[in-house]
Symmetry: none
Subunit: 81 residues, 5 copies
């Protein structure tokens, strides 16, 4: 006897997409938050180095932004598929 | 014999959307909160660098805001689909 | 008696892809965030070493970015397969 | 009476591959992030030792990168098998 | 009447292999990250001992790398078996 059961839990991929988008944004928020926080303190300590610090801040934050937007894009693809 | 069972856990996608939106907001809140907090302390330490600090604060917070709004948008799409 | 049941939970791979993409971005965000944060403080402490620090920051962040983009790519392959 | 039930949950390996890729990248992000973070602070403390520190940073980060890329590769093999 | 049910969940070993590879890399990343982090700070404190510190760092990191590559290898064997 061979039984093949297709159990489709209907909302599972979309559940994952929503949860995934949340975790992506959590990572981006914590990461860019940490960078931004340090940038504030750094500019306060060395106001004359403000432009250097801001440039480095944007580069680092953009790297997080890049992988995060790619991550939420995948979640969007899954959610609307 | 072939059995196909569609088990639809009816609220699962919307549950995920709500949970995801929560996690997004958690990340954004913690991240922007960290940046804002440091900005306050930084301006207090160096009031004359206030405008520089505020510019950097807005840039960093806007990056978090961007990915977070994209994240909650996905959750909104899922919730209203 | 021998029973072979193929239970296919239809959305499971895609659920994993979404969740995986989230965890990848979480790691990238935390990691690059930590590097960026330290870079800010480092430039503030030694503004004249700013270019050295920024170079090292980009190298380290790029290593995280590399494995992260590879990770989300796998999730994308799974999601669209 | 002896019953042997082979229950195949069809999407389970691919679910694992996606989740595994996420955890690999999480580890790589946290690890390289820690190394990079310390490298920044180290270069700021001893700018004249910048090249030594950067060399050591790349060696340590490359070791993490190596095992991580091998890990995501396994996840890719599982996902596409 | 005596019923003995052997329930074999078919995809479970491969699921475990993928997740295991992830956890191996997580451990390696955290471990080598900690070693590398301390090495950076050590070289900054004693730049003239840089080569000694780097040698010790590579030995310690290589020990983690060794067991980690063995771990992901086992996961690969399970995944492709």
């Amino acid at each position: 006897m061979f039984n093949s059961i297709l159990m489709e839990v209907a909302g599972l991929p979309i559940f994952g997409a929503a949860l995934g988008a949340g975790v992506v944004a959590l990572g981006a928020g914590l990461g860019i938050g940490k960078i931004g926080s340090s940038a504030m303190e750094a500019i306060a300590r060395q106001p004359e180095a403000g432009s250097k610090i801001q440039t480095a801040m944007i580069i680092a934050a953009a790297l997080i932004e890049g992988v995060s937007l790619f991550g939420v894009l995948i979640c969007l693809i899954i959610a609307t598929a």
